[in-house]
Structures are given as C-alpha cells and as structure tokens.
C-alpha cells in the first residue's frame, strides 16, 4: 500500500501545482478561489443541518450523540452575536467590510468605492447619505435608551 501511494507521488505533486492543494493551501488562497468559483449555497449551514439530522436520529434511538457530531453541531451553529468571537474573526469582518465592492452596483453606497473622481454632485450625495445614516443611528440610540 505504501509502495502504491509512493508511486503516485509525482502525479499528486503535479496535480497540486496545477489545480492547487486544498488540504495545505493557506486560507487567503482558499478564500480567493472561493470568491471566484464558490457556490451560493451556505456550506456551513449545510454541515449544521446534516449534523443536526444525524444527532436527532441518535436521540430518537435513545443513543448518545457521537463526539464528532456533537462538536460539529456546536461549531457550525449560526452565531447571532459577536460575543466570544475570536479577534481573528473580528479582523476578517472588518477587512471584508472595508474591501471595495467590485461587482455591478445599483446603490451609491457601494458605487462610491469605485469612484476615481468625486464631482461636487457626488460629494453632496455622499454627504446626504452619510447624514441619513447618522440620523437613523441617532434614532435607534434614542429608542434603545427608552
């Protein structure tokens, strides 16, 4: 068996060089490729649902849920708060938010990232939008205080 896998070594290397190696590539390359070739499906949610179904089957059978399913369930559950989120993840969120949007845009909020020259009209519109956002935040703060 060991001999056979050794036999494939050059082929595996060639394939890794040509199409990349998903098992060892750094996360920036994984993200970059996924940005271009990724699917619209939420793969983490898919993993969560599959783990949940498996866990349910075990519970219905009155058996303990295996550790790998338990761990996956806990780690893939969608978070709705940033409490306890690691700094690396927070950094990613900030980077993502600051990254210019390159796709086709309809709203000025996205389009302004791509502007190479701001005319007076653009500046006026951006200021107006920024003021609106601030007003909304102020209102929300007031509602929150009440």
């Amino acid at each position: 068996m060991k001999n056979k896998s050794k036999k494939n070594e050059a082929l595996e290397r060639q394939l890794a060089a040509l199409l990349g190696d998903p098992t060892t590539a750094d996360s920036s390359e994984v993200e970059s490729l996924y940005e271009e070739f990724g699917t619209s499906a939420d793969l983490v949610q898919m993993a969560y649902e599959q783990a949940a179904q498996t866990a349910q089957r075990y519970r219905l059978a009155g058996k303990a849920v295996p550790p790998h399913v338990q761990a996956a369930l806990a780690q893939t559950k969608a978070a709705n708060t940033l409490e306890g989120v690691p700094t690396s993840k927070l950094g990613e969120i900030v980077d993502w938010a600051l990254k210019p949007f390159r796709g086709p845009t309809e709203t000025l909020a996205f389009s302004h990232h791509r502007l190479t020259h701001n005319s007076e009209k653009d500046k006026r519109l951006l200021k107006q939008l920024a003021d609106e956002v601030k007003e909304n935040w102020a209102e929300e703060d007031e509602v929150g205080r009440r």
Binding site: E29, L43, V44
Partner: protein, 192 residues
C-alpha cells in the same frame, strides 16, 4: 490544554474547512454549473455526500480529531464518491487502470511518470487557442518539474521566475478551463 483526540476534537474553522472541501470537489468536477453521473451530482452535492458519510459514521470515519485530519478525511471521501459517480456514469470501469483512475484513486495507480505526461499533454491541448496559451503552457510544463511535495507555489514561482500571486492567477485561469473530470473522461473513455 486538553489533549486532542476523536472524543475531544479540536475547534474546527468550518467556514474555511467547507471551502477547502468544496475546492477539492471543484478540482474533480469543474465549475459550479458542471455535473457528473448523468447530471445528478455537482461539486456542491459531492461536498454534501462526503459530509453525510462523515456524520453518519459512528466513529466519524476514524477521524483523529484535528482540523487538518478532517480536511484530508473529507477530501478522501469526496474523491471516492466522485469515482463512484464516474463508474455509475459508465465512464470508468470498476477495474480500470486508466491514468485518471490513478489520479483520483490511489488503489489503481498506473505508472506515475507516464500518467504525468498524459495529463500534461491533455492540458496543453485544452489550453490551445487561449489568449494566454504561452503562459499556461509554461505553467503546465513547470508542474511536472517540481520535486518537493511542500511549498508547491513557491517552487512553481521559482521555476517560472514569477511571483506566487502570478502562480495563483495562472491556476485560476487553468481552473476556468479544465478539471480532472474533463481530462479524465477523455483519457479513460478512450484508453481504458
């Protein structure tokens, strides 16, 4: 710090892990809109199938509890699922010793160097007429020349005298053109 084991697995970054596994599927099938097995299985389906097998196994297919181990495990399961689909599709005989079976299944390894040459020739044919044909051809040939298993991008960059980023760009170009399935079907379909 508690010892990592199958009963006490490490914390896995599922967001990156699922993307890695999806990339492994993409290498085999091709773009998101490509399918195998008479059109019933896409790259996304393969990821789902691999995960189902992992979760359904009482011991997680003997997962060692590490994130790296899980990536390798899921990629291996995915590769076998892909082979099953190809066999059902009638493109690969179960006992095939074809070059592509060797690529996707270690059990059926043909002569390593011969398979590399076939893959190289097929890919060069696939990029013919591409606006960046010359660069892609150099990239394909360089892939056969690397000697070490790790730091593949760095080796490619040194060989081609380009940056690591450029290596990744050329890889993207190649991924847009070809996947293992495409090369595999033409290889195995005619030679096995």
């Amino acid at each position: 710090m508690p010892h990592i084991s199958p009963r006490n697995p490490e914390s896995v970054d599922w967001r990156i892990l699922t993307k890695r596994v999806y990339w492994a599927a993409l290498r085999l099938v091709g773009h998101t809109n490509r399918v195998v097995d008479c059109g019933i299985s896409s790259a996304e389906d393969l990821v789902a199938e691999a995960m189902t097998e992992f979760f359904d196994s009482p011991n997680g297919l003997s997962w060692d509890g590490t994130e790296d181990g899980l990536v390798r495990l899921l990629c291996g399961v995915l590769r076998n699922k892909f082979l099953d689909h190809l066999r059902r599709d009638g493109k690969v005989h179960p006992d095939s010793e074809g070059a592509m079976a060797g690529l996707v299944s270690k059990e059926a390894a043909p002569d390593d160097q011969a398979a590399c040459k076939v893959v190289e020739a097929r890919l060069i044919e696939a990029v013919r007429g591409h606006p960046k044909e010359r660069e892609l051809e150099d990239f394909i040939v360089a892939a056969s020349c690397i000697t070490e298993t790790g730091m593949v991008d760095k080796q490619m960059a040194d060989l081609l005298d380009i940056s690591v980023n450029e290596v990744r760009n050329r890889r993207k170009m190649l991924l847009r053109i070809a996947s293992i399935q495409q090369i595999g079907i033409s290889l195995v379909g005619r030679t096995a």
